[in-house]
Symmetry: C2
């Protein structure tokens, strides 16, 4: 198949049913932002909402805003916006705290529900904070609990009757490989284990149906494909059947059955409120609303289709135009097996990413040699992919990346 032309990409953009979303983002002209898998760009509406939260709710209305502006309700309200995006009931999701802390909560729930089992199955190559958090939890709980690490092809075989829970990330942060949530959850349940899913790299880029898959718990972040803003609070899904039965152990007053009774002793809420702990960063919560609402308006089937096509375009163009320069695709070639970013290894990955950034093409780098290109379908156009690869080809052809300036290590994100 011949490599597509830029004109062909323009045609694809004209026919893109998601094309109108791009104008809702505050993206600078000329910038090709392929880093939405790390930090999504600002929705135009976020700035006005943030200003209102600061200048009206905090400045003018002060403490009264806990009621009048619905600050108390923010974790639920944002959770209800998110719920249909992940196949959950509105009463099963709250937005709160960080992914890491939320994973601690739900992993503890899963272990408490399987007190006679001592193994947690995780993917060792997963984004490390998940492993670290479970290691911290197991250290605290003791009772001989251990992690059994298994990579994607080994996960199913790792599930036996010692397993209390599988804790897995649906889309891999580095390779973008997709795990089969439904099949793994079903098998986990067959052997009597629970299934906990991290949706950090999948929420907002594909249809997700936690309840249809039978998932027990899930967590995820909102600052990647949900465009919630830097460090915007994360979410928790707890399946309704576990409410009031699985008690997460970060038992702050927001999770009490009656927070304003000021009881001396903790009594867990019997609904999803129990997943809450303390007071949330309201300004960051306010800024997040616009991104969640935009994602909720998008057709996730269309988003998934476009992500696959953008990825296919990127892979094809890089292989056609940069094939001689040593890039090695580490993402699955088949769109059905990938999330919404595409990763290549290259021994000079770091200076290449820096040289691209100088030309207005923002990808990112993960040591030791992975380049990731995020292809968020709500704002990335087919021509952006074409132009990004044109810039990459130019950088490689001229060896522009081999400049001491680009080799110098900055702190990395």
């Amino acid at each position: 198949m011949p490599s597509p032309t830029r004109a062909h990409c323009e045609d694809l953009d004209r026919g893109d049913p998601l094309g109108a979303f791009r104008a809702e983002f505050a993206l600078a002209d000329g910038l090709i932002y392929l880093d939405g898998h790390s930090l999504g760009p600002m929705p135009q509406a976020a700035l006005a909402r943030l200003h209102e939260a600061a200048n009206v709710e905090w400045r003018r209305d002060l403490i009264g805003s806990w009621n009048s502006a619905g600050w108390f309700q923010q974790p639920y309200k944002l959770g209800a916006v998110l719920a249909p995006l992940i196949g959950a009931g509105a009463d099963e999701v709250v937005v709160t705290d960080t992914t890491a802390i939320n994973l601690f909560k739900v992993a503890a729930c899963a272990l408490a529900l399987r007190p006679d089992r001592r193994i947690v199955v995780m993917e060792g190559s997963n984004f490390p904070t998940d492993n670290y958090i479970v290691q911290g939890l197991l250290g605290l709980v003791g009772r001989g609990l251990e992690i059994r690490f298994a990579e994607k092809p080994e996960v199913m075989a790792a599930l036996d009757r010692d397993v209390a829970a599988v804790i897995l990330t649906q889309v891999h942060y580095r390779t973008s490989h997709l795990l089969d949530m439904a099949a793994i959850t079903r098998h986990a349940h067959d052997i009597g284990a629970l299934a906990v899913w991290d949706l950090c790299h999948s929420a907002g880029i594909m249809p997700i149906d936690l309840n249809q898959a039978g998932a027990d718990f899930a967590v995820g972040c909102t600052y990647k494909y949900l465009n919630g803003g830097p460090g915007s609070p994360a979410f928790i899904f707890a399946a309704r059947r576990h409410h009031g039965r699985a008690i997460q152990p970060l038992t702050g007053w927001w999770g009490h059955a009656e927070p304003f009774a000021f009881d001396r002793d903790y009594r867990p809420a019997t609904n999803v409120s129990q997943m809450l702990t303390g007071t949330q960063p309201i300004l960051s919560m306010a800024a997040m609303e616009a991104g969640l609402e935009m994602a909720a308006r998008a057709d996730m089937g269309q988003v998934r289709d476009k992500a696959g096509q953008l990825g296919e375009l990127l892979i094809g163009l890089i292989e056609a135009r940069c094939g001689a320069f040593g890039f090695r695709l580490i993402s699955p070639r088949a769109a059905a097996e990938r999330g919404s970013h595409v990763a290549f290894d290259h021994p000079s990955g770091y200076p290449i990413v820096r040289a691209l950034a100088q030309r207005g093409v923002i990808g990112d780098f993960r040591a030791p040699e992975t380049i990731r290109f995020g292809l968020a379908p709500l704002y990335i156009r087919y021509v952006d992919v074409w132009d990004a690869v044109a810039a990459l080809a130019e950088i490689m052809r001229t060896r522009a990346w081999d400049d001491p300036e680009f080799h110098r290590l900055e702190a990395v994100t």
Copy 2:
């Protein structure tokens, strides 16, 4: 002593060495905001800083801001601003997460440092989230750990050689009574226990010297007297001697020795970074800077003196002008034994607070019958106290509070 006149209060304001701070707050004319013990008002500088974080750092500079805008450094940078306010080294404090979550971390550290002891001493009447969090932690850890509840006069006697740690709040959220941090910490150490302090109601209103007291760990919030904004992240103090030895169990990647090495297994940082877990709400962190910096510029000795005088004025005026109406002072009468709010019980506390609010005097209510008046010295004037009591006296004299409108319960903060 005759009750002071309003003219006398005006004189006091003219002589107030802290008087200039009030203009730095965005407080509406005519509002008397006596709720800074719950949510501090907005510093003027916060709005501009927030706008820059959103509109320049997020919108324009996107992912690059993790380095260029110092987002990675925010927990340390804000911690360093806070450190002198609480008698800590800049390398002993980070701003992160919520008070409840931070208490979980440091309580776990304290228990891990005393594995042979099984008692935690806490004040049962403390703000309940502290008790709840420790109850959750003990449930997870097991090994026969228990809380021994003791009220203020009983705390010293509750310390024996079964005690692993005392976990106490320096200023009581309801009564405003002040615990003697230095004496309790010394006695805790004498019997081989650790001392953990919650500074939620004391940071920013009095000189605090954690290191001189020998405190082991401390936590606190930043949205009360530090005016950081609604739900602004909390702080942790970990004494240098415990770094690398007491490992908090919410082991996310931000607390790893090398977060960007993407190791499979957790290796704790050997400095205060280990107290961090995950990615922080950057916009809320940005809004917080102005409040912390203002508090750091204030002379905490002067702040403490003024808080005492404001409290004395309030108590004297209420007793003189509302003495017949059944208010019962539940805060210590002596300024040296109080924090910066003053609390009265009254059987009609709730409608009274509502009626005051309608007249622009914002106090707050804690069930069943406590009215709290926060007297934050950076923006409350002596005339504000005088005018607030005048409004209260009028409400009581005319029974204006006894209106069905004010009895109707709103959700409460």
